[in-house]
């Protein structure tokens, strides 16, 4: 029985021996060999595929340069990977042979890392090869359906113009959502007996519109409000209805994000502000909300990206957005390539936003850490 309060000497010696015995270097020879074998398989698969697919593309009238270039790049990559695997194996062999423990350990470590790296490249190359086959099998049915370059070129301008509608809906509802959801969140966190009715209303609103699928809200508002014959409200454009519906739906989600941010501000900060004589409202305005917003930039940005994608839902009330436009083109040509254009557009505008979100929150952190 080990007793931490008595420093038993014989036991200590034993521990030292066990520790030293466990310190022999590992060469990772097995993993390195396996990586080399997989590298050979990858090289063969890539080379054969490049040859077949390239030949097929040329037979279909694709220019020889375009048809062979990706294959050549892939084969070159496979060669580099093969060399990586070879080097890992050489390290492993050297590690196994080396007599000096620390040097052997270092060689073993670089063999291990090299083998892992080569293996992950091998995996990636095999997956890309499989994807290339998927595009060309069955007489290139997949490429023809989704990537008809001629159709993409001809329809791009029309689709791009319709995408402007998505952008308008996104920006207008985005701004409205940021304001509206903050109001809801503040109502949701009103204190005491007096705040109860508004608090209750905010909760009810949140439950209702988070429960309703966005597509149904859009449908109900886009087709329902025009039937009411109310002044103004019944005669808006379908884009306006889309904006109203998305604001209501996303306002409910975003207010929850705000609320989480408000509640994440430590109560000691609130106590400090109130102790200086700041009222509840001023404490919210100058201390809680500014801190909350900083904490929630990432989830807020996520909502933003999600909103951007959901602007495509407005197609169901007949708004001619990019998706609707491309559907019309797709129906006329019996080919989905115009929809591919829309997909690419959405992806292209989303990725910079995700990076921007990262940058913003990083910069804010940097600033708060900075001295003056």
């Amino acid at each position: 029985m080990a007793d931490p309060f008595s420093n038993a000497l014989p036991e200590q010696d034993l521990r030292a021996e066990i520790w030293r015995a466990g310190s022999t270097p590992r060469s990772h020879l097995g993993r390195a060999s396996l990586t080399l074998a997989l590298g050979l398989v990858t090289f063969l698969a890539v080379a054969i595929s490049a040859q077949h697919i390239g030949a097929y593309a040329i037979s279909q009238g694709v220019s020889p340069v375009v048809a062979t270039l990706p294959g050549i790049v892939a084969v070159l990559a496979a060669v580099v990977v093969l060399l990586m695997a070879l080097r890992a194996l050489r390290c492993a062999l050297a590690a196994a042979r080396h007599s000096e423990v620390y040097a052997a350990r270092e060689l073993g470590a670089s063999a291990s890392l090299g083998a892992w790296k080569a293996m992950s490249w091998e995996g990636a190359l095999l997956i890309l090869t499989a994807a290339a086959w998927f595009l060309v099998v069955n007489d290139a049915a997949v490429s023809r359906t989704f990537f008809d370059l001629a159709l993409i070129r001809d329809s791009a301008l029309k689709v791009l113009r319709a995408f402007g509608t998505n952008v308008v809906i996104f920006f207008v509802s985005g701004v409205l959502i940021l304001i509206w959801s903050l109001i809801v969140a503040v109502a949701r966190t009103l204190p005491g007996e007096a705040g109860k009715p508004l608090r209750f209303l905010a909760i009810a609103y949140g439950d209702l519109f988070r429960g309703l699928p966005a597509i149904i809200t859009i449908y109900l508002i886009g087709f329902g409000l025009p039937l009411t014959n109310l002044p103004v409200i019944a005669h808006l454009s379908s884009t306006s209805y889309a904006i109203i519906a998305l604001t209501l739906t996303y306002g409910a989600y975003t207010s929850e994000v705000y609320r989480a941010g408000i509640e994440s501000v430590h109560h000691s900060q609130v106590a400090a502000a109130r102790s200086l004589g700041l009222s509840h409202a001023k404490t919210l305005r100058y201390v809680v909300v500014p801190m909350a917003v900083r904490n929630i930039i990432p989830p807020l940005m996520n909502n933003c990206i999600s909103l951007q994608k959901d602007t495509a839902l407005v197609a169901i009330i007949g708004t001619i957005d990019a998706f609707n436009q491309s559907k019309i083109i797709a129906a006329n040509h019996f080919n989905l390539s115009a929809v591919t254009t829309v997909a690419i557009l959405f992806i292209a505008v989303t990725i910079p936003q995700a990076r921007l979100a990262d940058r913003l929150s990083e910069r804010d952190r940097q600033r708060m850490r900075a001295g003056g």
């Binding site: 109130r274 102790s275 700041l278 001295g371 003056g372």
Partner: protein
């Protein structure tokens, strides 16, 4: 008449009585040190005075005017009573200067220029003028706590409550904070300090109150409480501090 009169107050958390019938009068310019074991109610007592906590019974008066009960303007009360916490609680999204300007400009309605001048004067006195545009996270604990004191002083409080303001600090930073408190005491600021710095309490306090289970168990001038404690509990507390090398 005393500046602050605490009159037989009680405070419950559920069925647990944290403050049990405590009374304390504080005259103007007086410095009171609250000492006692952890959990005896020092923080709670201070937080009751600026009404961050509600008392369950008794009353508290400032200059004879009752500040407990309904209908008291809490924002006005807190404008005149400063409090500094153990954890500094500076606002992390504001610079040092902005932290000190917030309340004077937004609550007292001071112009930004006027307030800045005043703040820079205070920051200069505590040797932190060069940190005016730094963010709190880049300051040491001692520097943050000094800024927190300045933030409270910006409101010209008539009573300053200090709740274990050096307990979170590394030992070598304690004195830079206590130096300020010493200057304030010399300048006649009325203060109540909850503290574990017995040497300092002995030096600056006009009166030591030893709290025990939510009440004042023994009080008196420092020389008496530290030199010749009467109560058994006081003696036990002080001798446990001696064993830990804190006295």
């Amino acid at each position: 008449m005393a500046l602050l009169e605490i009159d037989n107050i009680r405070k419950h958390y559920g069925s647990f009585e944290v403050i049990s019938g405590l009374s304390l009068d504080v005259r103007e310019h007086e410095v009171i040190c609250l000492i006692g074991p952890s959990g005896c109610g020092k923080s709670t007592l201070l937080r009751c005075v600026n009404r961050l906590e509600e008392i369950s019974a008794g009353e508290i008066r400032i200059h004879g005017d009752r500040i407990t009960g309904e209908g008291v303007d809490l924002d006005r009360l807190r404008r005149d009573i400063g409090i500094v916490f153990q954890g500094y609680n500076l606002f992390p999204h504001m610079t040092v200067l902005e932290n000190t300007l917030l309340a004077p400009t937004r609550v007292l309605g001071l112009s930004r220029r006027e307030a800045t001048e005043k703040a820079l004067g205070f920051l200069d006195r505590i040797g932190l003028a060069h940190k005016a545009n730094a963010y709190p996270d880049s300051l040491s604990g001692g520097q943050q706590q000094r800024v927190a004191i300045v933030r409270a002083l910006m409101m010209d409080p008539m009573l300053l409550l200090l709740d274990e303001i050096t307990s979170a600090l590394d030992p070598e930073l304690v004195s830079e904070v206590l130096d300020i408190v010493r200057d304030l005491a010399a300048g006649g600021m009325t203060m109540i300090l909850a503290t574990h710095e017995m040497g300092f309490a002995r030096e600056v306090a006009d009166r030591i109150c030893f709290l025990q289970a939510g009440n004042i168990y023994e009080q008196g001038p420092p020389a008496q409480v530290f030199g010749d404690p009467q109560g058994e509990r006081t003696q036990a507390f002080l001798s446990s501090l001696k064993r830990a090398g804190r006295l």
